[in-house]
Amino acid sequence: MINVDVIIIGAGPVGIFAVHQLGIKGLKAVVIDNLDKAGGQCIELYPEKPIYDIPAVPECTGEELTVRLLEQIKPFKTEFILNERVEEVKESNNNWEIKTSANKKFKAPNIIIAGGVGSFEPRKLSLKEAEKFEEKSVFYSVKNKEDFKNKNLSIFGGGDSALDWALELSKFSKVTLIHRRDEFRGAPHTLEEIKKLQSKGKLSIKTPCQLVSIEGDDTIKSISIKYDDGKIEKIQTDFILSFFGLIMKLGPIAEWGLNMDKKTINVNPENFETNKKGIFAAGDICNYPGKLKLILSGFHEVALASVECFKRARPNEKYRFEFTTSSKTIQDRLGKK
């Protein structure tokens, strides 16, 4: 069990800025996110799209915003627990204890939920029978490419992940790339390479078609795909790899006894506390009259929540409002001389 002042759930822009607001108040946080990197929707959904409504930043992409925010919190040397989802939250002596999907445990008087629309998970194949082959013959990510050596692979998808893996795995396996339309969307260089391999007969491309059935008992033997014109083709397959991006799932948050409104958590707009003392919600996941789902609103929300967090984490100290321009204490915490 690791003790901190605040457990932040969600490493999106709002979760990252929470570290800053807590850090300048001298509070130690830990950030937990189900993705493999910080940035949340900014990095996963629109890393290259420009954002135009960050105050004093006329234009920056989702990725740039993330990089700058991470730069801003560097002085606080905060630990990020990535690839893990918070599964359990329980109360213990006016504190909160949480457990992650990898069984890591943290304890703190405060939790800030900055979880956006929930945690990102791979979008699964819509075909029902795909489920029983999951992690045996059907995969939504490649952990170790050696597992796919010298096999018949059917890869689904039309974006970068599908193309990159088709290219990589075709080096030592028989790859069929299947997509619902003729156009692929990937880096021009990758597309060129794919076309080259196809013309050499080292990779086969099937479009426009979709998966209609999977044949096999314990493991897959073959799959059938259906072309737009109705023609059905059977493809000998050992493994299906499917890359249809990520979806957001609220997940266990819904079971923590918080007052919810659809997929959002009701908060008190004075301090962004939920109905549970010491559990706060900020950013897209919180809800109060007039709520706007803007990054800048999330920044404001964590600034206010951090004050209440301080009061709970340091009950014997008086909270003093300070400006970064004039406070020696804050400047020390930021490592400024």
Binding site: L45, K49, R123, E183, D228, G245, I247, K263, K293
Partner: protein
């Protein structure tokens, strides 16, 4: 105000007057029409406001831009008449538009 009809995958119809300028997605979310999740809030980043548009109306809609078509690749059971309802802005010309929501969004 233009009338928009939302049809569930089971065939249940709900016709609503939606203000011009709103998107078909916003019209659904503001009126609690089930079947449209719109997780990303309309930034064309999630494909959970996916709808099917009947042929008669499909051709009257402004063509989908590349980003939308790419996103539809990610949708649940995309078809030739798939659109993202966050990209369909309601105008007088779309009065009477019918959209059908898929069995689920993710």
């Amino acid at each position: 105000m233009p009338k928009i009809t939302y049809i569930s995958h089971k065939g249940e119809k709900k016709t609503l007057n939606i203000e011009k300028g709103l998107t078909v997605m916003e019209g659904a979310v503001q009126n609690n029409v089930p079947g449209i999740d719109a997780d990303c809030g309309g930034s064309m980043a999630c494909a959970t406001c996916h709808v099917y548009v009947s042929e008669k109306w499909f051709n009257k809609l402004p063509k989908a831009e590349d980003g939308e078509v790419d996103m539809i690749d990610m949708a649940y059971e995309p078809k030739k008449n798939s659109r993202l309802s966050c990209q369909l802005i309601i105008t007088e010309e779309l009065d009477g538009l019918e959209v059908t929501t898929p069995e689920k969004q993710s």
